[in-house]
């Protein structure tokens, strides 16, 4: 009962706010709607019995990544011409690929709903200890690959940001 009370409102909020991300005219509002949508998705995780995933979703996406998005969007000053451009309806060609993807996802969702139970083992993710065991005993290769990709990314970022990339500045000025 409690699960249903939590799941359906969060799911509806997630869908509405995600739509608002696309339709809001102000980019800062779009980012805020995206944060609300991530929040709603995290509540969906919680209601499905995985508080760990719910918290991680908020810490990583809402708490860290979206702050950076907001940081950049705040600094942008788009100007009227760019806003007008964004508000024009998209051309037909641009809709083909997203249309295909959306159709596949829709079919999958309907198939899952018809099957009557969520796919995948939500029981396994019930508590953080079980999730840890699953990640570091069964899927450690994936964890390591992700770690290597992150390491490469951060080294690349430091390389691009180093003083030699900007010949006229000293390292001290960049800090």
């Amino acid at each position: 009962m409690m699960q249903i009370l939590m799941f359906y409102p969060s799911a509806v909020i997630a869908v509405i706010t995600t739509l608002m991300v696309i339709f809001s005219k102000n980019p800062v509002y779009a980012v805020l709607y995206l944060i609300m949508s991530l929040f709603a998705v995290s509540m969906v995780f919680w209601s499905l019995g995985s508080p760990f995933l719910a918290m991680v979703e908020i810490i990583i996406y809402a708490g860290a990544i979206m702050v950076l998005f907001l940081f950049v969007v705040m600094m942008l000053n788009l100007g009227q011409r760019r806003v007008d451009e964004d508000l024009r309806p998209p051309s037909g060609k641009a809709l083909i690929l997203p249309g295909i993807f959306a159709t596949i996802l829709l079919v999958q969702t309907i198939a899952c709903l018809m099957a009557g139970h969520p796919q995948g083992g939500t029981q396994l993710l019930n508590d953080p200890v079980a999730l840890g065991h699953a990640m570091y005993e069964k899927h450690y290769l994936g964890v390591k690959l992700a770690a290597i990709i992150l390491l490469i990314g951060s080294i690349g970022g430091m390389h691009l940001g180093r003083a030699a990339s900007f010949p006229d500045t000293k390292e001290k000025d960049l800090l």
């Binding site: 409690m2 708490g63 860290a64 950076l68 705040m74 800090l175």
Partner: protein, 351 residues
């Protein structure tokens, strides 16, 4: 009623019926919020008094005996001032920003255990530490949105400074917490306190403790990390355009955050409700909160002491301290803890 008392005293929290759980959460939550909000007003007085004594002044002493009625006078003054909404601001976000800071600070207290019995924690989540980290990372939005929605240069600068500062210090904060989590073998704050029944984590984690304390002072944007509101550079930073009660919410939010962070430090590193010795003639259910509140009181004083002692950081020094010292040190602390747990398996909480 008798059954309710029996259930919440004997069974673990997960096995309570939902109704009992709701009643306990509402009562304890209400008591905590009420106590917190009235304490926050008196913290302002305490801070002004302690700062004054440290600077050889008298401090507020006109309202009531020893200035004890000063918070009431302050609240009346703030309430009767004009609550102006400048025409250039983004109305809804401008109003929402001060509410967010209060909400995130108050909600985090739901996972802090106040004593041994199960009913002295509002909700013993098995992801308690993550809950605290999630809410503290959301606190950034309050400052950023206040800065952006004010549509003013000084507020925007303050908002940007706050974002960069809070993101930087969040990393070392969570990394030093991870080492404590490894020692306890659980993310639940209750389990972490239980793991400290014989030895407090401040002894096993001296470096982690120092990193955590510095990081939370930076997270709470208090002196010497108060660059987002540095008054001699950017007027009042992110809350330049705020007045009356909305300003007061920011002001009180800072003190509520100080209380919350003191609770978290005492819980994770100083044994929470565990005391140094048994107080005679006092039941265990009351002894726990007394010890915890004593530790919290010390840390609140410590926060004020730091503010009176250190001058404000320069911005590049702040970033250098965060990225070049705190984060590498916290990673080192994490690795050292992991190695020690493997060498001496009795240290780790993982069975």
């Amino acid at each position: 009623m008798k059954d309710f008392w029996h259930v919440i005293n004997t069974l673990p929290q997960e096995q309570w019926p939902p109704l009992y759980s709701a009643i306990q959460s509402l009562i304890l939550g209400g008591v905590i919020v009420g106590a917190l909000l009235s304490a926050a007003g008196y913290l302002v007085l305490l801070e002004r008094k302690v700062l004054a004594w440290m600077q050889h002044r008298v401090g507020p002493n006109r309202c009531g005996p020893f200035g004890l009625l000063q918070p009431l006078a302050d609240v009346l003054k703030l309430l009767t001032k004009e609550d102006s909404l400048p025409p250039f601001v983004d109305k809804w976000l401008f109003i929402a920003a001060p509410a967010i800071i209060m909400l995130t600070a108050i909600l985090s207290l739901a996972v802090v255990p106040f004593g041994q019995p199960q009913w002295l924690v509002v909700k013993d989540l098995n992801v308690g530490i993550l809950f605290f980290l999630a809410l503290s990372s959301l606190g950034v939005y309050s400052i950023v949105l206040a800065g952006w929605s004010s549509n003013s240069k000084y507020a925007a600068l303050g908002g940007l400074r706050a974002t960069a500062q809070m993101i930087s210090y969040e990393l070392s904060m969570s990394m030093s917490l991870l080492a404590a989590v490894m020692l306890a073998g659980s993310l639940s704050l209750n389990k972490i306190v239980e793991a400290q029944s014989s030895l407090w984590f401040v002894i096993l984690q001296p470096l982690g403790f120092v990193i955590f304390v510095i990081s939370v002072i930076a997270e709470s944007r208090r002196a010497p990390f108060d660059l987002p509101e540095a008054e001699n550079e950017i007027v009042a930073g992110f809350h330049t355009e705020y007045s009356s009660m909305k300003f007061a919410l920011f002001f009180l939010g800072e003190y509520v955050a100080v209380v919350l962070l003191s609770f978290v430090i005492s819980t994770i590193y100083l044994g929470g409700y565990h005391g140094l010795f048994d107080i005679p003639y006092i039941p265990a259910a009351i002894e726990g909160p007394i010890w915890l509140l004593a530790k919290v009181g010390f840390f609140i004083f410590f926060f004020i002491w730091i503010r009176a002692t250190y001058p404000r950081f320069r911005y590049d020094h702040l970033m250098e301290l965060g990225w070049k010292y705190m984060i590498p040190l916290s990673v080192l602390n994490l690795i050292a803890t992991a190695v020690l747990i493997i060498l001496f398996p009795t240290l780790g909480g993982h069975k």
